[in-house]
């Protein structure tokens, strides 16, 4: 009897504490009405207020033409003092897609993800005051993006091309630096029968002198042959950027990328 009372008292205490901690921050209701919203907040935005903010623009097609490659562009450049960006696909079996820590980069990221079914995509952008600014979009999709084998496995020698990289490095019309990296990698989720998880999980972008520009963590839902667009904030002069990556089997990839000066890029456009 006493034990039961103790248990009840204990659970009331736990309940009060948890209500207290929930009340300690503001978590806005999801305009997309995702059934997984509270779960996404608890798991991936565990501290700080969570507000929906139109300055976090998440651009995605209404309907995914290809559930293996759903293009997403996040533009939160109107926000100041961003220290972290995270993207989740709420209804994916593995929801967390990627995180970006911009050091010397605009809060802009382009990537492609796999969708297991139609899902809300939420992007949280944390500012240095600890507040998560969130944008989201609903994407309709045919099923199965995360549980089918990567296309690479149809090719008997896919390991030969592993890590093969192509890239764009240039300037926007506004002069902003922009780079798109595209690396051959199966990005296996571990959810296709007989194929363990194997994916590029870390990517660091630095200046020539080793000053960090952006650090990215990638997870299973990032599409095969990850293609990532970022905007380094490195001034108008020509410079070299160093990219290093690592996958879940410990393969390291490293390469330099030359970024043209604003003037040179403008001149090549007029030619």
């Amino acid at each position: 009897m006493i034990t039961t009372i103790n248990r009840i008292v204990a659970s009331i205490f736990v309940l009060l504490v948890s209500v207290q901690s929930l009340q300690a921050r503001e978590v806005q209701a999801d305009p997309l009405n995702s059934v997984m919203w509270n779960n996404m907040v608890e798991r991936f935005m565990p501290d700080g207020d969570v507000i929906f903010d139109p300055r976090v623009k998440v651009i995605a097609p209404v309907s995914a033409e290809d559930q293996f490659y759903v293009p997403i562009t996040v533009d939160a450049t109107e926000l100041e003092n961003v220290d972290r960006v995270i993207a989740v696909a709420d209804l994916n079996p593995i929801p967390l897609v990627l995180t970006v820590t911009p050091h010397q980069a605009l809060s802009f990221i382009g990537f492609r993800l796999k969708l297991q079914q139609s899902s809300p995509i939420h992007v949280g952008v944390r500012t240095t005051d600890g507040v998560w600014h969130v944008g989201g979009v609903l994407v309709d999709a045919a099923g199965g993006g995360c549980t089918a084998p990567a296309a690479a496995h149809m090719n008997s020698n896919w390991m030969k091309t592993l890590g093969e990289t192509r890239a764009f490095a240039g300037r926007d019309l506004s002069g902003s630096a922009r780079m798109t990296l595209r690396m051959r990698h199966p990005m296996d989720t571990g959810l296709a029968a007989g194929i363990p998880a194997f994916y590029l999980n870390e990517l660091s972008v630095e200046t020539e002198d080793g000053v960090p520009i952006a650090d990215l963590e990638l997870f299973e839902p990032v599409s095969e042959n990850p293609t990532l667009t970022i905007k380094p904030d490195v001034g108008d002069e020509a410079t070299t950027i160093t990219v290093s990556g690592r996958d879940t089997e410990g393969n390291n990839y490293r390469f330099p990328l030359s970024l043209p000066a604003v003037a040179a890029a403008a001149a090549s456009r007029t030619n």
């Binding site: 192509r166 798109t180 667009t229 390469f255």
Partner: protein
């Protein structure tokens, strides 16, 4: 463009839906039984009828009836070109043929390519009468089930009972005689890896399949644009009196060829430009479409789909190859 008649038929179809209070295709077999294609045959040449679809994308409202199908009365029977998006469409097509040309035997059914709106009505025809190049048959066998699944997702009960039936006859001759009529057969590719074109040598009607679209934006899920452009060149040189494009009105002047070619050339150039600037796919999707393509049905939707279809190959082609240090 098409007359107002097909539009009002479609409206009737939607009203029929609304009047039963059924907004989705899944909510009951009794309501679902009212689903029916109201197909209409237009005589585009002597004894040659086109069954025009809407210049749209697959939607519950159109039941996937977005494609042109045709049938011809030849001296000894009927020849059919493509069979529509579902078993139910196939049944409606059979009934339409029987109403239009009663009591004739169907001697030959051609499938122009393996896209689902062109062959999923095959089920209602005799497999040994259905013919296509081997490569079209292979494509149907490889991708047909996936297409059917996706159409069930998009069209719901319209697809009831639809199964993949591959053609029973593999063609390789450059012509064949069917029921007293000679047909020239052309083996091309570019819209897909196998696009089959048929010309009725008597009437001069060229059934281009989806190598030609008219006033409906071309689709590119399996496209190879240089090959497609070359195929259009080939079609331009073939003697004919009329083209029935895969989508859109019948075309006496060859406008479907020039319009398709013009669109593809713009599409390719525009996407090369986007990739050349390091755009994301989403940024590319927002790029403007020239005014001259404004009259093409669903052009924005198809352009956005094409970005997804074509972008990655262009990135592989146009991006700088990087020497990666591995350790």
């Amino acid at each position: 463009m098409q007359s107002a008649a097909p539009f009002s038929r479609r409206r009737r179809q939607i009203l029929q839906w609304l009047s039963t209070g059924c907004g989705c295709a899944m909510c009951g077999s009794i309501d679902a039984q009212i689903l029916g294609y109201d197909l209409y045959a237009t005589e585009i040449a002597s004894k040659t009828w086109a069954v025009h679809g809407q210049p749209e994308y697959f939607e519950i409202g159109n039941g996937g009836n977005i494609v042109n199908v045709a049938f011809i009365e030849v001296p000894d029977g009927i020849v059919v070109i493509d069979t529509g998006p579902s078993k139910r469409y196939g049944e409606a097509l059979l009934a339409l043929i029987e109403r239009t040309v009663p009591g004739k035997e169907i001697l030959r059914v051609y499938n122009t390519h393996h896209h689902p709106d062109h062959f999923l009505g095959n089920q209602v025809f005799q497999p040994e009468t259905i013919a296509a190049p081997q490569k079209v048959i292979d494509n149907i066998n490889a991708e047909g089930d996936g297409f059917t699944d996706n159409l069930y997702r998009l069209l719901g009960d319209w697809m009831r009972g639809t199964l993949v039936v591959a053609p029973g006859v593999a063609l390789e001759a450059t012509s064949e005689e069917v029921g007293g009529r000679n047909f020239s057969l052309f083996y091309l590719d570019g819209h897909t890896s196998a696009d089959f074109v048929i010309r009725d040598d008597e009437t001069g009607v060229l059934f281009s399949g989806d190598l030609a679209f008219l006033y409906r934006a071309p689709t590119t899920p399996h496209a190879n644009i240089p090959r497609w452009t070359a195929a259009i060149e080939t079609l331009t040189e073939i003697d004919r009196d009329l083209i029935l494009p895969g989508h859109g009105p019948s075309d006496p002047k060859g406008e479907s060829l020039s319009q398709t070619s013009d669109y593809l050339s713009w599409l390719d150039g525009n996407l090369r430009d986007a990739v050349g600037q390091g755009f994301t796919m989403n940024e590319a999707m927002l790029m403007p479409i020239p005014k001259r393509f404004a009259g093409l049905g669903v052009v924005r939707t198809e352009y956005e789909r094409s970005v997804v279809h074509l972008f990655q190959d262009l990135e592989d082609e146009l991006f700088q190859v990087i020497d990666v240090v591995r350790d």
